[in-house]
Amino acid sequence: MSENTSAPAAAACPRCREPVDGHRFCENCGHDLWLRRGGAARAPSGPCPGCGANGTNTPNGFGVDEAGEDYCSTCGIRRDDGTEHIEADLGQVAGVSDRGLVHAHNEDAMAVGVLAAPDGQALVAAVVCDGVSTVDAPELASRAGADAALERLLHPSGPDMSKAVEEAADAVAALVDGSHGHFRNPPSCTLVAAVVDPGPEDGVSITVGWVGDSRAYWLAAPDAAEPARLLTVDHSWATEMINSGTLDAETALADRRAHAITRWLGAGGEPHPEIVTIRPAGPGLLLLCSDGLWNYYPGAEELAEVALSTLARGGPVAVARELTTIALNAGGRDNVTVVAVPVGPWDERGTP
């Protein structure tokens, strides 16, 4: 994509067209001039894909029924709610979220954002949430959680991971206020969030926070200064049993409860995050993903091999697409969400 960029001083607010003056928010309309974000589903429109019934002015886009549900009032087919396959590409960060091959809905959600002052280095933030599928409307939890966490990570007062998780937990808890109907089992989700701070003085720093079993990986070449590894520790039954020494890995993983998560955002959950910060000694790629990917490819080295060669060819969006594709090819039994953030001088190695 090529654009003619005019000098910052002459730039106009994209929303109200008034000239801007180097501040983050437009003095005229309040538009956030530095922030770009992505990852949300786009609402569908047009005639029903099932029966061709014409669109109406309902909030759902086409002939959905009076009860406000996502079903066509003529043929009953559930409309595409826009989450079957979502891609977000902001250049410095990209993500793909896919329904997978088995589930009827995509209960994962992602939110990615770049905060870039005209003269400074961009701050990148990304969040992946995975709705707990045994509760009601888990997709509400994952979308609310991802959006709230990203909002806080790119807040004008600076990124604060523990506050971001706290606000995500509040947003998920607020879903039971009645405006989404009555839940027997209120929605809940996991969360993994990261903020990549270019840190002009002491080098780039990556802060990762998580609740549940969605993961963050550091991916790097085999001989890299900062070796590839899993950055998070699952809040899952098996992991806790193994780490506390209660059970050996084989017994713990064979248990029916192995994959049950022990922390989550939402009703009855322990939303307390674990947070780690790393200052990588060399270039690499930060990967956030839901278990729809890591259930098939849990190893950092394996993931690095695929991701780094793809990154060199097509940038972070190619990485997110490629890893999603291999999860689908492996069976796609769960929703798959993958977010990639290249870190370090990756663009000096010949990629766009």
Binding site: T74, A104, H182
Partner: protein, 432 residues
């Protein structure tokens, strides 16, 4: 105001496996409809009509008419102050016993007068149940919007022509709900069952006249607790779908399929009668056009609808029946507990009725097979009440396999009790 609180006054829970294998088109669901607390409070007395119809035909002479008087007096004593009521003496015609015409509002005075009139009740004449129903229908039409309920007691077979009776029944459909009681063993189960089913009420046998008063008291207690009249189950289905059946399956099996009246677009209404602090289960089977793998379809939307003033309607609760096509057999082969259970309970009722009919017709082989099947189904589902009644008609050799022998001598009362109560179901084990 009697308004139950609109949407949310009823909960509609759906038990189904919504996952279907590729190409499949039949969707089964069990829908549990329950009145929420706010909706379950009894309606104001001024909006309730009760009519008691007592058989006074010649065959009632003796202990039966004495028991009928006692029972009617017990029922009158249960009437809440403010309720409209009437007592009708039935023989070949319907004679208004109290008040002389129309209905009267219950209070200490009217209850006493009614009781005195009942004490003088004499048995004389034939049995014309169609005429009784027509009379009650006339009273009910004077109370639009009220909860209208009748108790009909008889000891014998209807003396009217089948055509006259059918026309009479047809003429009162939907005007009131009716609980029927047969006293003794000279009445016909199918006759009273037809009335109870059509009029959305219950049917039972009171073999010993001495038990009649207690039974009437309990029917009246239940009737006094009703809170909403004339509810309907509205079923929306997608274009091209066919409703295979809509059955009430708890507390009893009642097939409502043919009771459908067309409502809004792609929707039909099935009458539910009046409702109190209670919960009922319905089994729906819908054939939908098969979707592609990954498609999700709304196969049915169940709404509990109450007609409002001036043709307005109120939706009191809603539940969704879905179909999702998948290639994952782990999902599509799951069986809904509710659907499996009530499929068995409906078959149990059928097996009993067919078995008893075969026994009457002298076809012992069919009777043994069908009643044996019933024993096995009752055993498997934990329907102890029905199992006990079956045990009086057949000798159970092995319940799980349904191995039985017909008993040689079976009392009429045992056979009629089994027949009458064959449609009673139990809920899924482990549910409250």
């Amino acid at each position: 105001m009697t308004d139950v609180a609109g949407a949310g006054a009823f909960t509609v829970e759906v038990d189904q496996n919504s996952y279907l294998p590729a190409g499949a088109s039949r969707v089964d669901a069990v829908v549990t409809v329950t009145a929420a607390d706010a909706a379950a409070a009894p309606a104001p007395a001024s909006e309730v009509l009760e009519v008691i119809v007592v058989d006074c035909s010649t065959s009632m002479t003796g202990s039966k008419i004495r028991a009928a008087r006692q029972a009617t007096m017990a029922a009158i004593a249960e009437l809440r102050d403010g309720v409209s009521f009437a007592v009708v003496a039935g023989n070949h015609v319907a004679q208004q016993l109290f008040p002389p015409v129309g209905t009267v509002v219950a209070n200490a005075g009217t209850r006493t007068t009614a009781t005195r009139m009942v004490e003088r009740l004499q048995a004389d004449g034939g049995t014309g149940i169609g005429a009784w129903l027509t009379h009650v229908g006339g009273l009910a039409r004077q109370h639009p919007g009220s909860i209208k309920h009748a108790i009909v007691l008889t000891d014998g077979q209807n003396g009217e022509s089948a055509e006259y009776f059918a026309n009479a029944l047809n003429g009162v459909l939907g005007t009131f709900t009716c609980d029927c009681r047969g006293v003794g063993t000279d009445w016909r189960v199918d006759e009273l069952r037809t009335i109870a089913t059509s009029m959305l009420g219950t049917v039972d046998i009171v073999a010993d006249p001495a038990d009649l008063a207690a039974d009437f008291r309990s029917i009246m207690g239940e009737a006094m607790g009703k809170s909403v009249a004339d509810l309907a189950l509205r079923l929306w289905t997608p274009r091209g779908a066919t409703v295979r059946f809509v059955k009430q399956v708890a507390p009893t099996v009642e097939d409502l399929t043919d009771r459908r009246t067309e409502a809004a677009r792609q929707s039909g209404d099935y009458p539910l009668g009046s409702w109190g602090a209670e919960s009922r289960d319905y089994h729906l089977a819908i054939e939908v056009p098969a979707g592609g793998v990954g498609d999700e379809m709304l196969a049915g939307r169940v709404s509990i609808v109450r007609p409002g003033p001036d043709g307005a309607e109120e939706v009191l609760g809603q539940g969704l029946v879905k179909a999702i096509w998948t290639e994952d057999t782990a999902l599509s082969t799951r069986i809904s507990r509710g659907v499996a259970h009530y499929t068995g309970q409906a078959e149990l009722a059928e097996a009993i009725q067919e078995g008893l009919a075969a026994r009457k017709a002298g076809d012992e082989a069919t009777a043994t097979a069908r009643l044996g099947r019933a024993v096995a189904l009752a055993e498997a589902s934990g329907n102890e009440g029905t199992a006990r009644l079956l045990g009086r008609v057949v000798e159970v050799v092995d319940a799980p396999s349904g191995t039985v022998r017909l008993r040689k001598a079976v009392a009429d009362v045992d056979e009629m009790t089994l027949d009458t109560r064959s449609t009673r179901t139990v809920r899924v084990r482990g549910d409250g």
